[in-house]
């Protein structure tokens, strides 16, 4: 992406190295903003030079060397401008001024990646800023790439990233391995950000599809990295499994014109069986280990869907039981909505409609198009076509998603054609 001549291998290599390089530079210079800028410059230099001159023998050392030199240059020119050469000497570590033993490092590299993730998903940052900073600092994406993926101007994304860096600087978060308590507290935020990046990318029918696909791939790659660092954490494994099990259906999820195809009508031959097998293995192992979290339960639900060879073979009683578990874990109205749909699949549409009635009182859900859409589906199954049409139409007018609106309006049209 950085350069058309650059193969996916070099690009992947750069992305993999980005957090390690940033971590090493951070430990030397202790300035997140400066280190981040310098590493971005080094990555861009690599993206242009490596395809031409070949990948160096020690790519990580090369990047650390270039980034460190950039910082040193910046500090030098700044200081020269102010005629304070003496400061430079004290700022630039002696080993950098002579020769760079670039990655003879004290702390293990994996700790750097985790520390960076915890910094980028800092609670002082707004969610869009945390997402942007994570993609840039940990994912190694450039600002224009991130801007394209989120369909905002480059200047807007640049502002977001620069403000995020200022916020981190101002909050005085040190670059060091978080304490076990801090890690437990912050891991939830990290996983949430990764989950949001995945969601942003898990769309193939709106906007420039390619870049959004890249985002879900990036989310899976980063979550894989976190899982490799914390293999015993059930929720990390659960989130990775959830992403794999959901992403496995991507090819079947939209038709040739980008139209949405609901789960029950998807061509299951298009599902990625390797991703499903990996996701199932991950979530099975995680669930057997004890403490169960919401990502694991959602992954288990996705696994039950993915394991059914045909839609009618879906083990709905098991899905219903899992939604019951999820309901007890969180007070999320969307979970209650899915629970009502699962109830309808097991006990009939009227039982589901009864549960939806109770949800009307929830201010977070009333007026939401998902409630109308669910009601429309269940009313249709219960044989009340007229009411189903009305709810399909209402849902269509309330959604902000183009493919979803087309899908819902098509359902309304199909039913009213059938009534003519």
């Amino acid at each position: 992406m950085a350069s058309p001549s650059q193969g996916p291998t070099a690009e992947r290599l750069l992305r993999d190295l980005a957090p390690q390089v940033l971590g090493a530079v951070m430990r030397r210079f202790r300035d997140f903003g400066a280190a981040e800028d310098a590493v971005q410059e080094a990555l861009i230099a690599a993206a242009t030079q490596w395809p031409r001159e070949g990948v160096p023998d020690e790519p990580r050392a090369w990047l650390i060397h270039v980034a460190s030199r950039r910082i040193a240059d910046h500090v030098r020119s700044e200081a020269a401008r102010r005629r304070r050469e003496a400061i430079v000497v004290s700022l630039v570590p002696p080993e950098l001024q002579i020769a760079l033993a670039a990655d003879s490092d004290e702390a293990p590299l994996e700790d750097d990646t985790l520390t960076l993730l915890f910094m980028c998903c800092h609670p002082a940052l707004s969610t869009p800023s945390a997402i942007a900073l994570t993609l840039r600092a940990v994912g190694g994406l450039t600002t224009p790439e991130i801007a394209r993926a989120f369909l905002v101007p480059e200047a807007t994304m640049a502002q977001r990233i620069s403000r995020a860096k200022q916020t981190i600087k101002a909050s005085g978060v040190p670059f060091e391995r978080p304490t076990p308590e801090a890690r437990a507290e912050r891991l939830g935020a990290v996983l949430h950000v990764l989950y949001l990046i995945f969601n942003e990318g898990y769309t193939s029918s709106s906007g420039p599809a390619l870049h959004r696909d890249d985002l879900s791939g990036e989310a899976i790659r980063l979550t894989r990295a976190v899982h490799a660092l914390l293999p015993d954490d059930g929720e990390v494994a659960g989130l990775l499994a959830l992403m794999l099990l959901t992403d496995a259906r991507r090819a079947a999820r939209t038709g040739p014109l980008g139209e949405l195809i609901p789960l029950a009508e998807q061509d299951r031959g298009l599902w990625d069986q390797r991703a499903i097998a990996e996701g199932v293995a991950l979530v099975t192992a995680a669930l057997s280990r004890g403490s169960i979290g919401a990502y694991q339960v959602q992954a288990a639900i996705a696994a039950v869907h993915d394991e059914a060879a045909r839609a009618e073979d879906t083990d709905w009683p098991q899905i219903l039981a899992l939604y019951g578990v999820l309901m007890r874990m969180s007070d999320n109205p969307m979970v209650a909505l899915s629970h009502a749909i699962a109830t309808a699949m097991v006990h009939g549409p009227r039982a589901g409609l009864d549960l939806l009635k109770a949800l009307d009182a929830d201010a977070r859900l009333s007026g939401h198009h998902r409630l109308d859409a669910a009601r429309a589906h269940l009313l249709e199954r219960a044989g009340d076509r007229e009411a189903a049409i009305a709810h399909y139409r209402r849902a269509a007018s309330r959604t902000t998603s183009v493919p979803e609106q087309n899908y819902l309006a098509t359902q309304a049209a199909r039913l009213s054609d059938a009534m003519r």
């Binding site: 707004s126 969610t127 869009p128 800023s129 989120f150 369909l151 905002v152 101007p153 200047a155 807007t156 994304m157 502002q159 977001r160 403000r163 969601n199 942003e200 898990y202 769309t203 029918s205 709106s206 906007g207 959004r212 959901t246 949405l260 609901p262 789960l263 998902r370 902000t400 998603s401 183009v402 493919p403 979803e404 609106q405 899908y407």
Partner: protein
């Protein structure tokens, strides 16, 4: 989530900037510039444009042979679209807050115009699962 904020101004109403005193006009422009800068700096601005006046507008409708016919009958309205912002914000409340700030742009004598700003969410990507 992205929102479009549409600045609706009464036709022949107080937004007749050409008739304003210079200092009022300058205060208005200064407000709009600083508003634009603040939205850029917060990383929320996606796009913003002011539109030429309604007397410059053409109404286009394809004729029987498919060729465009212009200058047709405009829908009767008491307001016109003077400009818009597209913002990318974390919540609808934030979009309303930005719209309220735009609404209070200063007019003649520095008094807030309290223009009507229509806020509409921009259609986006599909949800994770259907």
């Amino acid at each position: 989530m992205k929102y479009i904020l549409m600045m609706n101004t009464p036709c022949g109403g107080p937004y007749q900037v050409a008739n304003w005193q210079q200092k009022d006009f300058q205060a208005h422009i200064a407000f709009m510039k600083s508003f634009h800068r603040k939205l850029s700096e917060s990383g929320e601005l996606v796009a913003a444009e002011g539109l030429a006046g309604p007397d410059q507008a053409k109404l286009v409708r394809a004729g029987k042979d498919g060729a465009p016919i212009t200058d047709g009958v405009f829908p009767e309205t008491k307001e016109f679209l003077a400009g818009y912002w597209i913002v990318d914000v974390e919540s609808p409340e934030r979009a309303y807050e930005i719209a309220a700030q735009a609404s209070a742009a200063p007019g003649p004598g520095g008094a807030p115009l309290n223009m009507g700003i229509e806020v509409r969410e921009v259609m986006s990507a599909p949800p994770v699962d259907l």
